[in-house]
Symmetry: C2
Subunit: 346 residues, 2 copies
DNA sequence: CTGAAAGCGCTAACAA
DNA sequence: TTGTTAGCGCTTTCAG
C-alpha cells in the first residue's frame, strides 16, 4: 500500500516550517479561516477561534511575513535612513519614529549611511527591495540619482531635521532651521560681549554647513566676521576630536574669546581639554555647542547649547508618513523650532 | 478588434509597481532570464544581459523582496535584539554585526528591547514573521517562553555579551566574563589600597548583576565585603543619574574611599558631580566604571575602567551565525576577554 | 544559454 | 460565518 501522502505534491523547498495550511488541517478548518483569526478575529466564531488558537500554539506556528506581504500588498515595513547610529541625536529621532510606527504594526528597517550620500543611494536600493510602505530620510541633500528614483517611485516619504527653502516646492519635511539656531547662538554670544568668536566645524555634513552659515550671518551682521575664525576639520565629530582641535588652535597662536562648536560632542571635548590646561571656561574661553546631549548639562561648567527637538522630529515625521501612506496629501513643511539653553560655559 | 491585452488576466492588486515580467517583455526575453541577470549574471549572454540591464534602468525596476524571499526560501534578514540603542556599547556591537552581515547580503532588523524580557518575547514573535535566517540575541536570560520557542524553531542563533556557565550545554555564545572583569577591577582597587569600595548598581539588568557578583567575590576573598557597600538604583543608567546618586551617597553620610560604578555613564556623572563639589578624584574618592566609552579617556581625571570588546563581539557573533546559517555545527562559546584600563580616576 | 511550468504561503474577491 | 479559487512576483525544477 502506498503511503497516505503519496498523492500530495511533495514539498520541494522551504524545509519544514509550519504553515497556515498545517494549522488549518490540524484545526479542521480552511486556511482562510485561520488567516482571519490572525488578521481580524472578530469575523470568526468564538468556537472555531479557540480551536485555531490552540492549534497555532501547539504547532508553534509563525506566520510568514514574506507571503503575507506578497499576498496583501500591504507593506509591513518603513525604511529609515540616518547618517549615524553613534550619534545620540539620531537615536532619539529613531525612538520617536518607533513609538509612532510600531503600534501601527510597522517594523523599521534602519539604515546607517555613515554621512555618505553614495552609501545612502546604495542602501536605498537595498531597502526598496523589501517593499517598504514609506521612507524616512535625513536631510534634503540626496544625490540626483536618488532624487530621481524617489520621484519615479512615488513612495510616501518624509525628510527630517532640516527645512526646505521657503516658498519652494519641497517634499514633506519635519525639522527646524539649523541656520536660525546657529544665528541665535552667535547673537547670544555677541550679546554677552564676546567678539572673537570662532566656529569649529567638524564632520562637515550638510547640517554642519547650515550651522556655519547661521554663525556667519550673525557675525557679518555685527561686522565681526573674519575667515580666520572658521576652523574646519573633515574628521568625524567626537569628544576626543574636540580636545585635539583645541590643542591645535592654541598651538596656532590664534586668539579667540569664544568657540562655537558644531555639536556638543566636540564642545565637551574642548571643555575637558581646556580644563586639563588649567584654562577657565568661560573666562579664558567661552565654549558653546549644538544639540544639548544628555551629558552636556552635567559637565563642568555646564554647556551652553542649542536644544534640538530630535525626538519630536521623529514622532512628527512618522505621523506625517502614516498619513501619506494612508493616502493623505503632502503636508507642508513643519518647523519644530529649537531652544537656546544657557549654562556656565558661555 | 479587442485590445491586445484583453486575454491577459487583469491585474487585481498591487497598483502598478514594475515587475520582473514587465522588464522581461520590454527586453523581449522571459522573466527567468531577467531573474538570472539579477542573481547570477554569469549565466546570461552578454548580449541579453545588456539589453536587460538597460530595460531595468529604463523602467526603474525594483525587485520585490517579499516575492523573492517567498520563492527562494532563502532568507535575506537577520534579526538582532539589543537592550538599548542609547547605549554606545550596543551601537558598536551592531556596527560589528553589520560589517560582517551586510557584505553577505543580509539586512538587519534591529530590535530595541528596552531591557525588558517580555518586550523581547513580543519583539521576537514580530521579527520571526519576517522569516529571518538567524537571530542574534543579547545575553542568556530569555524568558522560558522564548527559550521554548527558540528550541522548537531550530533557527540559527548566537547569544552575545555574556558567557554560559562552564561545562554546561549552552547555545552558541560570544562574549566575555562580566564577572571576571568586575573581579579584576575590584582586585585592582584593593591592590591600590582602597578598602571601603562601594558598588553602585543602576539599571539592574543581568550584566549589571554579574558585575556585582564579580565585585562581591573579590571583596569577600579579601575580607572586605559588607552589604552596606552595595548601592542599588533600578533606574536607567545615565550621566545625570550618576551625579544624583553621588549626592545621595554623600548625604547618607556613608564613608567610601572608592566607588565602582556598573558602567561608564554613571561613573562619568559621579566624577562630574565630585568635581562640582570640590572633591578630589581619586584622593577623596576613587571612581571606576565599566565599558570604556569614548568620552571616558577625555574627562578629568580620565576614567579607570574595563574596556569591553563589544565591536569584536558583534563581528564574531555574526561570523558564527553565518556559519550556522550555512549549515555548520554549533560552535563552542567564545571568550573575547576584557582589558583593565587605568587612568587618573583610581 | 534560455525557457515553460509549478509553486513558495498567504490573502482578496467572490460565493454559499 | 465559512469556504473556494485565483494569484501576488519571484525562483526552482526540469527541458530543450
Amino acid at each position: 500500500m502506498a503511503p497516505a501522502t503519496s498523492s500530495l505534491p511533495r514539498r520541494r523547498r522551504g524545509a519544514g516550517r509550519v504553515t497556515l495550511a498545517d494549522v488549518a488541517s490540524a484545526a479542521g478548518v480552511s486556511s482562510i479561516t485561520v488567516s482571519r483569526v490572525l488578521n481580524d478575529p472578530g469575523k470568526v466564531s468564538a468556537d472555531l477561534r479557540d480551536r485555531i488558537v490552540a492549534a497555532i500554539a501547539e504547532l508553534g506556528y509563525v506566520p510568514n511575513g514574506a507571503a503575507r506581504a506578497l499576498a496583501s500588498a500591504r507593506p509591513l515595513l518603513v525604511a529609515v535612513l540616518v547618517p549615524s547610529l553613534t550619534n545620540e541625536v539620531f537615536v532619539e529621532t529613531l525612538r520617536g519614529i518607533r513609538e509612532v510606527l510600531q503600534p501601527k504594526g510597522y517594523q523599521i528597517l534602519i539604515g546607517d549611511t555613515g554621512y555618505d550620500a553614495d552609501d545612502e543611494a546604495r542602501m536605498l536600493d537595498t531597502y526598496l527591495a523589501f517593499g517598504p510602505g514609506g521612507l524616512l530620510l535625513t536631510g534634503l541633500q540626496q544625490t540626483e540619482a536618488v532624487k530621481l528614483r524617489l520621484e519615479t517611485l512615488r513612495l510616501p516619504r518624509v525628510h527630517m531635521m532640516e527645512l526646505p527653502a521657503p516658498n519652494q516646492p519641497a517634499p514633506p519635511t519635519v525639522g527646524f532651521s539649523q541656520t536660525a539656531a546657529a544665528t541665535a547662538m552667535a547673537d547670544y554670544l555677541i550679546g554677552r560681549n564676546y567678539r572673537r568668536i570662532g566656529f569649529l566645524a567638524t564632520q562637515l555634513d550638510h547640517r554642519t554647513l547650515l550651522r556655519r552659515d547661521g554663525w556667519r550671518a550673525s557675525m557679518q551682521a555685527h561686522g565681526l566676521y573674519n575667515t580666520d575664525l572658521e576652523i574646519t576639520d573633515p574628521g568625524r565629530s567626537s569628544v576626543g576630536r574636540g580636545g585635539e582641535l583645541l590643542t591645535q588652535i592654541l598651538a596656532s597662536g590664534m586668539k579667540l574669546d569664544a568657540l562655537f562648536c558644531n555639536n556638543d560632542d566636540v564642545a565637551q571635548g574642548v571643555v575637558f581639554e581646556a580644563q586639563r590646561r588649567g584654562m577657565d571656561v568661560p573666562k579664558d574661553l567661552a565654549v558653546v555647542g549644538f544639540n544639548d546631549l544628555a551629558a552636556s548639562a552635567w559637565i563642568n561648567p555646564g554647556l551652553t547649547t542649542i536644544a534640538t527637538p530630535r525626538y519630536e522630529v521623529g514622532r512628527e515625521a512618522a505621523l506625517r508618513l502614516l498619513e501619506l501612506m494612508g493616502g493623505g496629501s503632502a503636508p507642508a513643511p513643519l518647523d519644530l523650532g529649537f531652544r537656546l539653553v544657557t549654562r556656565g560655559s558661555a
